[in-house]
C-alpha cells in the first residue's frame, strides 16, 4: 500500500451534504457488498459501488470527482433493487455526475458525458431523438471531449449505419412532434 494513498482525517460533512441534496439514504449502508456483487459493470469500474458509498461517507470528494465508476454505472437498478438497506445507488451516481459537471470538473468518462449531453441537446432541438443525428453529433462531441478521433470506431459506426439504413431501421428526417416548443420551454426553465 502506498503511503501517500493513506487517508488522513475524514470529512463527514460531505456525506451529510450529499445525502441531503441527493435524497439518497447513504448512511443506511452497512457495507455488505451486495450491490457490488450484483453489479454487471464492475469490471469496467475503478471503484466498486460499495466503495463509492464508503468514499462519500469518508468525504473523499476529489477522488470521487475523478472516478469513472459514476459514469460507467449503467443505471440498471440491480443494486438498488436488491440492497437490503434500500440505498439508491444509481440515484447517487446521477447526483455525483451532476456534481462533477456543475463544479466544472472534467468528467472521467468524456465519451459517456458527451453522449448524454448530445442526447439532451437532440431532445431540445427536435422534441424527439433522431438516432442518425444523434450519432453524428456524438462523434463530433466525443472526439472533442477525448481530444482524438477514433477512426476505426467511426468507420464501424458508419458501416452499421448503412446496414441499418438498408433494412429501414434508420431514418434521416426526424418525425415532427407538435410539442417541440413545450419541450424547449422545459429546457429553458
Amino acid at each position: 500500500m502506498q503511503v501517500n494513498n493513506d487517508i488522513i482525517g475524514i470529512e463527514s460533512g460531505f456525506a451529510r451534504q450529499v445525502a441531503l441534496d441527493s435524497g439518497v439514504d447513504l448512511f443506511a449502508c452497512y457495507q455488505c457488498e451486495k450491490c457490488t456483487n450484483g453489479c454487471p459493470v464492475t469490471f469496467a469500474m475503478d471503484y466498486e459501488p460499495h466503495q463509492i458509498i464508503r468514499m462519500v461517507q469518508l468525504g473523499l470528494r476529489e477522488e470521487i470527482a475523478r472516478a469513472s465508476t459514476i459514469w460507467v454505472c449503467a443505471s440498471c437498478e440491480t443494486c438498488f433493487t436488491r440492497c437490503p438497506q434500500g440505498v439508491d445507488i444509481p440515484k447517487l451516481m446521477d447526483y455525483l455526475k451532476q456534481l462533477v459537471l456543475s463544479q466544472g470538473d472534467k468528467p472521467a468518462e468524456g465519451a459517456v458525458a458527451a453522449f448524454h449531453q448530445v442526447f439532451l441537446e437532440n431532445i431540445r432541438r427536435f422534441g424527439r431523438v433522431n438516432e442518425a443525428f444523434l450519432m453524428g453529433a456524438y462523434q463530433l462531441k466525443s472526439a472533442k471531449a477525448e481530444k482524438r478521433i477514433d477512426v476505426k470506431e467511426m468507420i464501424s459506426n458508419l458501416k452499421l449505419g448503412i446496414e441499418m439504413l438498408k433494412r429501414g431501421r434508420l431514418g434521416f428526417i426526424p418525425k415532427k412532434t407538435g410539442a417541440k416548443e413545450a419541450v424547449r420551454k422545459l429546457f429553458e426553465k
Binding site: G9, I10, A28, E48, Q51, L58, P84
Partner: protein, 1021 residues
C-alpha cells in the same frame, strides 16, 4: 370487578404452544404444584426443535434432548395436554380467568389409538409432510413424527377423501382398536385458570420472497430448516445430504445469511433473527461431518455468535471442519439449467476482486417470524405486538405482555435459541404463578393408592403378558406361541395375550389378573420401556404392587418392527427376550423412594440485578430468602449505568428492587458477607456466612442460586492507562454523565470494539459491548451532530431488535469500520497528539485520525470473587471462569448439583432483560423444589461397608462427587444426591457397590437368561 378480586384465584395455568418453551414452562409449573393445560395447535407437541437434527453449540442431538421433555409432559399427572386446539378467548381478571378453547376434531379416539400406524399404511392419500418441510409425503391420517407425543394418529380433514367425497374410510376398516371416529366434531371448552403463558413460537421467512435467490425456482436452493431435515436420520433422505435435483451428495454447499433479516426493503424484516449465523455454522459443520469431502462456505455480513461458547464454536468450525466464512453478501443465485449447479458472485476476501464460483447446493438462512397463528391469537386476547408481530414486553419485566395475567416465553417474544427459550420459559412459569401463589397445590390431585403388598416370605409368582399391538407385533411374531412358551418358564404362574396391552380396558384387566392370581412380578412383552414403562408401573402400583416389580421385553420396536421380513426368527427372538426378562424380574426387588424433606427457604449469592430479582421472585412466592452480598451495598455493577438502547433505566429499576427487598418480610440481606462453608443436599443445605462485623450465621435452605456477576476488564494496550484520552466505555458513560460540556466539544472520537474479547486466550464475546457502543455513539451524536464518531468493529452484534438501533446510529452519521483480528488498529502518540491508524477494509486503505478520545469496549470478566464461591459450593466453572450450567442447551439455569441454580453475568455476559429473565427462571426452577414438602429420590447406589476397601475408586469415578469416605473409614453414598448411573459400581474393585434396580445379579440374570440350560427347548416355529 371487586367480587372477582375477592374470589379465591385458580391454581391452574394455561400454556399455549407445545414447543420446547411451552413444555419447559409446563413442567416447571406442574412440578411447583399447579395444574397445567398445555394447548397445542398441531396434533402433537414438540415444536420446531423436534425438526432439528443437531443443535449448536454442543452438536447434541435435538431429539435426545427433547424426548425426556416430551415424556415428562406426557406422563406428568398435573399436565393436561390438549392438542389440535386453540385458545380463542379469555375472560376475567388475573387469578380468575376463563379460557375458551376450541378443540378441533381429531377423528381418532385418543384413548383408543395405540399408534400402531396401520391406518396410515392403508390410507390412499398422500399429503405434503410439513414436519419434513414438504420434502416428503405423509398420509391423510398421520402422526406428526415417529416420536410424537401423544402417540396418537390424527385425520387431516382437509385432505381426507372421506371428507371430500364421502367415500373411503379405509382407516376405519383396518383399525383394530376401533379408534377412528368420524362422528367427532370440533368443540369448545371453557377452562378456569389463574394465568396464561403464550409460547406459540415462530415461523420462518418465506424464502420465495427473496426472489433473487431463486428458492422455488431452483431445485438445489433450500432453506436451513429443509437442510435440518436432510441431515436428520428421520428426514426425507435418511440422514444423507443429497441434492434435490439428482440425489447426489453435494460437493460444495453455500449458505447465504440474513435472508429476510436485517433488511428494510422487505416489509417487517428489519430485525436480526439472532440464531441463524450459528445455526448455519452448525449445519456446515454437521454437513462436513456427514460427508467428509463436502466443502462448506458461509456468506455473511456480520457473524453473530454472541451466545455462550458460540465464538469458540465458530472458530472450531473454521479450523476443524474447514468451514469457509466469506464476508460478502450474495446478490443473486444463478442456475445452470442443465447441471442445476448454482453460480454465485462475491468479493474474494483475499484479492478484493469479484469472482464467480459454482456450488452444488445453496442453503438460505431464512429469518424467523412470529408464528402465523400468533397474530390472530394476540388480537383475540388484546395483546400488544411490536411492529414485527412479536409480543411487546418491557426490559424490566420481559415475561409479561400488555395484558395482566398473560405472560410469554420463547420465539414469540423475539428470536431466541433453545437455551434462551428454556430460560425464559422457566421465568414465565415463575412470573405467571406470582398472582396465584396463595393457591399453589389446590388444583392438583394426588392419586389415592392401595397399600403395597408385602413380598416377605412369598414365593415368586410371575405373570407374563404378551401384547399383539394390533398386528404390529402379532403380524410378525407368533404371540400365542410366545405366551405359551412363557408359561413353562420357572416362576411363571400365568401368561396371557393382550390385543393392546396399554389400552384402558387392558389395564383394568391386568389389575384384575394380578389380584386374581396373586402375582408379585410382571413381565410385559410389548413395546419400549422408554414410552410405556411409566404407564405399566402405575398399573402395578394401582394393583398394590411395587412399581419396580415390572420388567418389559421390547418385542415391538426391537423385534417385530425390525425383523418383519423374518417372522420365524422374530418369534424366536421374542421368546429369547421374554425368557431374559423373566429371569431378571425374579430378582427384582421392591424399591421405596426415599423421602427427603425440603427446607422451604432459598439462598441467593450476589446482590446485583440477578440476585435481587431472584430473591424477590422467591420471597413473593412465599419462601424465606437469604441474600449474601460481599460488598457493602446491594445493586451490583448496574446501579449507576445509563439508559439502555431501549430506554430502560437500570439504576431506577435497581433502586426500586432494593427498596422492595429491604422492606420484604421474607428476605434477609447479609451485606459485606462471605460464604464460608456449605454442606448438605437438595432440599436441605446448610451454609455458614461470615458477616462484615465478623459474626457468623448458619442458614438452612432447600436451594441455592449463585448470581455473582461480572466486571469490566482493565485493558492492556492501546495506550490505556498511559494516555488519559484513552478510556473505556464505562468511563465514557461517566464522562457523559459528569462532564457533558467537555464531551460535547469533541470533534472526533473513535471506539474500538472487542478489547479483551474474542481473542485466543478469551475466545468469548462479551455480548453487550456492541450495543453499549451503539448507545453511546447515539448519545454523542445527540449532544453534537457534527462530531465524527467512528466505531472500529469486528462484527457488529446487534442481534434481535437491537439491529434497529445499529441502523439508527448509522443514520445519525456514525461510521462503522470493520477490522480483522490479525490487523488491529494502531494507537500511538505523535508530537503529543493521540493518533489512531487502521485499515479501511472496503477501500483497502489506511486511515489515520487524530481523535479527541479513543474509547475501548472492554470485555466482561467473571467477578473476581466468583472462583472462591465456586470452590465452596463445588460448582463448575468454564475455562474462562464463568459459572457452568448442567447442560448448555436444556438446563441453562441448573448446576449439575441438584438444587443449585445460576443466573446473571456470572453465567455469561447479558443484557438486563436477559439477566432478569434468567434470574426469575432460576427462581422458578428453585421453586419447583421449594414448593414440595419433601422430595422423593428413586433408586440409587449403595455401598456395603463390610466389603468397601476405602480405595477411593468410587470417589474418583463419580461425575457428581457423591461418594465420600465417612467417619467409619468406608465409602458412603448419599441417596439424595446419587443419580443411579452405576459408574462407581462398575469400577469398584471390591464389588462393594449395589446399584438398585440395576444390580449385577439382575443384569447377569438377563445374560444367563439368553443361554439358559434349564429352560425348555423350543421347536422352531
Amino acid at each position: 370487578m371487586t367480587n372477582t378480586q375477592t374470589k379465591e384465584p385458580t391454581g391452574a395455568v394455561m400454556v399455549v404452544g407445545g414447543g420446547i418453551g411451552g413444555m419447559q414452562a409446563s413442567i416447571d409449573l406442574a412440578e411447583s404444584g399447579y395444574l397445567v393445560y398445555l394447548v397445542e395447535r398441531k396434533s402433537s407437541i414438540g415444536g420446531r426443535m423436534s425438526q432439528l437434527d443437531k443443535t449448536f453449540p454442543t452438536n447434541d442431538c435435538a431429539m435426545c434432548m427433547l424426548s425426556p421433555r416430551l415424556i415428562g409432559c406426557a406422563s406428568h399427572p398435573n399436565i393436561n395436554i390438549i392438542t389440535l386446539a386453540e385458545l380463542i378467548g379469555l375472560e376475567g381478571s388475573t387469578g380468575n380467568l376463563t379460557a375458551h378453547v376450541k378443540k378441533y376434531a381429531r377423528y381418532v379416539d385418543e384413548d383408543k389409538c395405540v399408534g400402531c400406524g396401520i391406518c396410515a399404511q392403508k390410507c390412499p392419500v398422500n399429503v405434503d409432510d410439513e414436519y419434513n418441510e414438504g420434502l416428503q409425503s405423509r398420509k391423510a391420517i398421520y402422526l406428526q413424527y415417529p416420536q410424537a407425543v401423544p402417540l396418537v394418529y390424527a385425520i387431516d380433514r382437509d385432505h381426507c377423501i372421506y371428507f371430500k367425497k364421502g367415500k373411503c374410510r379405509a382407516c376405519e376398516k383396518f383399525c383394530k382398536t376401533n379408534a377412528i371416529d368420524f362422528n367427532q366434531t370440533d368443540e369448545e371448552i371453557s377452562l378456569k385458570v389463574g394465568s396464561v403463558i403464550l409460547a406459540p413460537g415462530f415461523d420462518l421467512f418465506k424464502a420465495e420472497r427473496a426472489q433473487e435467490y431463486g428458492y422455488g425456482r431452483y431445485q438445489n436452493v433450500v432453506t436451513t430448516m429443509e437442510f435440518e431435515r436432510f441431515m436428520s436420520a428421520t428426514g426425507p433422505s435418511d440422514g444423507h445430504i443429497l441434492r434435490p435435483s439428482d440425489r447426489t451428495v453435494p460437493e460444495k454447499v453455500a449458505w447465504i445469511q440474513c435472508v429476510g433479516s436485517r433488511e428494510s426493503i422487505r416489509n417487517g424484516r428489519e430485525f436480526c433473527s439472532s440464531i441463524c449465523c450459528v445455526a448455519a455454522t452448525k449445519e456446515a459443520v454437521m454437513a462436513t461431518d456427514h460427508h467428509s469431502g463436502l466443502k462448506a462456505t458461509i456468506f455473511y455480513i456480520d457473524l453473530r455468535a454472541q451466545g455462550k461458547g458460540f465464538d469458540a464454536y465458530c472458530e472450531r468450525a473454521k479450523k476443524q471442519s474447514n468451514v469457509r466464512y466469506v464476508r460478502s453478501m450474495i446478490s443473486r443465485v444463478a442456475e445452470n439449467p442443465i447441471t442445476k449447479d448454482l453460480v454465485l458472485s462475491y468479493q474474494d476476501p483475499e484479492t478484493g476482486k469479484k469472482r464467480e464460483e459454482t456450488f452444488s447446493m445453496v442453503v438460505l438462512s431464512v429469518g424467523l417470524a412470529p408464528s402465523s397463528e400468533a397474530g390472530p391469537l394476540a388480537e383475540r386476547l388484546g395483546i400488544d405486538l411490536n411492529p414485527f408481530g412479536f409480543v411487546k414486553t418491557q426490559t424490566g419485566d420481559p415475561m409479561s405482555t400488555s395484558r395482566e395475567g398473560v405472560y410469554v416465553c420463547g420465539g414469540f417474544e423475539g428470536p431466541k435459541d433453545i437455551p434462551e427459550t428454556v430460560t425464559q420459559a422457566s421465568a414465565a412459569a415463575a412470573r405467571a404463578t406470582l398472582p396465584i401463589a396463595s393457591v399453589r397445590g389446590y388444583e392438583i390431585t394426588l392419586p389415592s393408592l392401595p397399600p403395597e403388598r408385602s413380598l416377605f416370605m412369598r414365593e415368586t409368582r410371575i405373570g407374563v403378558f404378551v401384547c399383539c399391538c394390533g398386528t404390529n407385533i402379532a403380524g410378525v411374531v407368533d404371540v400365542e406361541a410366545a405366551a405359551k412358551y412363557a408359561r413353562q418358564l420357572p416362576g411363571v404362574v400365568l401368561s396371557d395375550v393382550f390385543l393392546f396391552a396399554c389400552s384402558t380396558d387392558s389395564k383394568v384387566r391386568l389389575k384384575e389378573l394380578i389380584e386374581e392370581h396373586d402375582l408379585n412380578r410382571v413381565v410385559i412383552a410389548s413395546c419400549s420401556p422408554k414410552t410405556h414403562e411409566p404407564l405399566f408401573r402405575a398399573t402395578l402400583r394401582e394393583a398394590g404392587l411395587n412399581a419396580y416389580l415390572l420388567e418389559m421385553a421390547n418385542i415391538r420396536n426391537q423385534c417385530s418392527w425390525v425383523h418383519a421380513d423374518a417372522p420365524a426368527s422374530a418369534t424366536r427372538k421374542a421368546k429369547d427376550l421374554i425368557r431374559m426378562s423373566v429371569k431378571r424380574v425374579a430378582l427384582q426387588e421392591p424399591i421405596t423412594s426415599k423421602r427427603v424433606p425440603v427446607v422451604p427457604a432459598g439462598l441467593v449469592v450476589g446482590g446485583g440485578l440477578a440476585g435481587l430479582t431472584a430473591a424477590l421472585t422467591l420471597a413473593d412466592q412465599g419462601f424465606e430468602t437469604h441474600v449474601v452480598e460481599q460488598s457493602d451495598h446491594l445493586g451490583g455493577r448496574h446501579i449507576d449505568s445509563p439508559l439502555t438502547l431501549e430506554g430502560f433505566d437500570p439504576a431506577k429499576h435497581l433502586r426500586e428492587l432494593i427498596k422492595r427487598v429491604e422492606k420484604h418480610s421474607r428476605v434477609t440481606v447479609h451485606t459485606r458477607a462471605v460464604v464460608e462453608g456449605f454442606a448438605g443436599h437438595v432440599g436441605s443445605f446448610l451454609t455458614s456466612i461470615r458477616k462484615g462485623d465478623g459474626t457468623q450465621v448458619s442458614v438452612r435452605h432447600g436451594t441455592a442460586i449463585i448470581a455473582t456477576g461480572a466486571e469490566e476488564y482493565r485493558p492492556d494496550g492501546y495506550l490505556y492507562g498511559r494516555n488519559s484520552h484513552v478510556i473505556t466505555q464505562s468511563e465514557l458513560n461517566s464522562d457523559i454523565e459528569k462532564q457533558p460540556e467537555i464531551v460535547k466539544s469533541f470533534r472526533s472520537l473513535v471506539m474500538i470494539q472487542c478489547v479483551g474479547s474474542r481473542t485466543e486466550e478469551h475466545p468469548y464475546c462479551s455480548r453487550v459491548c456492541c450495543s453499549q457502543a451503539i448507545a453511546n455513539s447515539i448519545r454523542l451524536k445527540n449532544s453534537n451532530p457534527d462530531m465524527d464518531v467512528i466505531v472500529l468493529y469486528r462484527d457488529i452484534r446487534s442481534f434481535g431488535f437491537k439491529e434497529l438501533f445499529y441502523k439508527e446510529a448509522r443514520k445519525r452519521g456514525v461510521i462503522f469500520v470493520r477490522y480483522e483480528q490479525e490487523r488491529p488498529p494502531q494507537v500511538f502518540e505523535n508530537e503529543g497528539a493521540l493518533k489512531i491508524s487502521f485499515l479501511e477494509p472496503s477501500l483497502r486503505r489506511k486511515v489515520i485520525l487524530t481523535p479527541d478520545r479513543i474509547v475501548l469496549s472492554a470485555a466482561l470478566r467473571p467477578h473476581s470473587m466468583a472462583s472462591q464461591i465456586a470452590g465452596i459450593f463445588k460448582v463448575a466453572r468454564d475455562d474462562q471462569g464463568f459459572l457452568l450450567e448442567a447442560h448448555v442447551k436444556l438446563r441453562p439455569l441448573d448446576f449439575a448439583t441438584d438444587g443449585m441454580f445460576l443466573c446473571g453475568d456470572g453465567h455469561s455476559p447479558k443484557f438486563p432483560e436477559e439477566t432478569i429473565a434468567q434470574a426469575a427462571g432460576a427462581a422458578g426452577r428453585a421453586m419447583s423444589i421449594l414448593s414440595k414438602d419433601a422430595m422423593y429420590v428413586g433408586p440409587s447406589s449403595q455401598v456395603d461397608p463390610d466389603l468397601c476397601a476405602a480405595c477411593m475408586t468410587c470417589v474418583r469415578t463419580c461425575p457428581y462427587h457423591v461418594p465420600f469416605i465417612n467417619e467409619d473409614g468406608v465409602s458412603q453414598i448419599d441417596p439424595a444426591r446419587c443419580k443411579g448411573c452405576g459408574m462407581c459400581a462398575a469400577e469398584c474393585p471390591a464389588q462393594a457397590i449395589t446399584v438398585h434396580h440395576y444390580t449385577s445379579e439382575q443384569i447377569e440374570a438377563k445374560i444367563q437368561g439368553l443361554f439358559e440350560k434349564e429352560m425348555p427347548e423350543v421347536k422352531s416355529a
